[in-house]
């Protein structure tokens, strides 16, 4: 039952994370929505371990966590650099990084 609840909560986080990425235009909100999806991945991997009695998923989580930290730090650094001095932050108006 506990594992099923974990999967249910992870599904909700994935759904809300995708909604945030699609619906919101603020880059910070989009970024933290991606964090929601990554958190859901953590839950699913650990819950799968619990269900199957293995430890492979936990190893993936341990590898995923530095990636999450680096992603947050690098993305926020870019956002701060891009939107410094701006009164409004909207990804639709962002053109300074276009190729």
């Amino acid at each position: 039952m506990m594992v099923q609840i974990a999967f249910l909560a992870a599904s909700a986080l994935v759904f809300l994370g995708i909604s945030g990425v699609i619906l919101r235009r603020n880059p910070v909100v989009m970024l933290v929505s991606i964090e929601l999806i990554l958190n859901a991945a953590n839950i699913i991997l650990v819950a799968s371990d619990r269900m199957h009695g293995t430890t492979d998923g936990s190893l993936f989580v341990l590898l995923l966590m530095p990636v999450i930290i680096l992603e947050i730090l690098v993305a926020f650094a870019i956002l701060i650099a891009l939107f410094r001095g701006e009164s409004n932050a909207d990804v639709d108006e962002l053109s300074s990084m276009s190729g």
Partner: protein
């Protein structure tokens, strides 16, 4: 599996989902980041309840704790208007949330006597007795949480006092 574990799991799952809703529909980015902290803390507690103690603690303290403080303190200087700045919580709030987490962990460790020792303990060839490792884990968790909460609250009090002098940004 005890009924308490299932109830705790459902509770943490609800908190995580509620936090995620607040992330997506928050009024401004600072609120979304604050809600993300709540979500990540709840996810960390879910992982601990599932038996992944190490990963859960990393989630609680590195991802949700340290990054929250770093990002909030950095975000104070982002120019998103005065309304965003007014909604920034003080770091003492962070300490209080940690204290609540401490109480939840206390409940989890004291009443859940058949708590699983965790996949790491199971995979170790010379894993200690289950009841022993349970209480040592619980004791270690409580000490770490208590120290972290006290430190966070101490920092929060100092920063709140400084912020009051500067006009309320904390």
């Amino acid at each position: 599996m005890s009924l308490l574990s299932t109830i705790l799991m459902a509770l943490f799952g609800l908190v995580a989902t509620g936090g995620a809703i607040a992330v997506v529909w928050g009024r401004d980015p600072i609120q979304s980041i604050t809600a993300l902290f709540v979500t990540m803390a709840a996810v960390g507690l879910m992982l601990i309840t599932l038996g992944a103690y190490v990963i859960g603690l990393i989630q609680l303290f590195i991802l949700s704790g340290v990054l929250f403080v770093l990002i909030i303190r950095k975000a104070v200087w982002l120019p998103w208007g005065e309304r965003s700045r007014d909604s920034i919580p003080s770091t003492s709030t962070f300490g209080w949330i940690l204290l609540i987490v401490l109480l939840l962990m206390l409940l989890n460790s004291v009443f859940q006597t058949e708590m699983d020792p965790g996949m790491y303990a199971e995979s170790m060839p010379s894993a200690p007795d289950e009841s022993t490792i349970n209480w040592w884990y619980a004791l270690g968790l409580l000490i770490i949480l208590a120290i972290a909460a006290l430190v966070a609250m101490r920092i929060g009090w100092n920063k709140s006092a400084e912020a009051g002098d500067r006009g309320g940004i904390a």
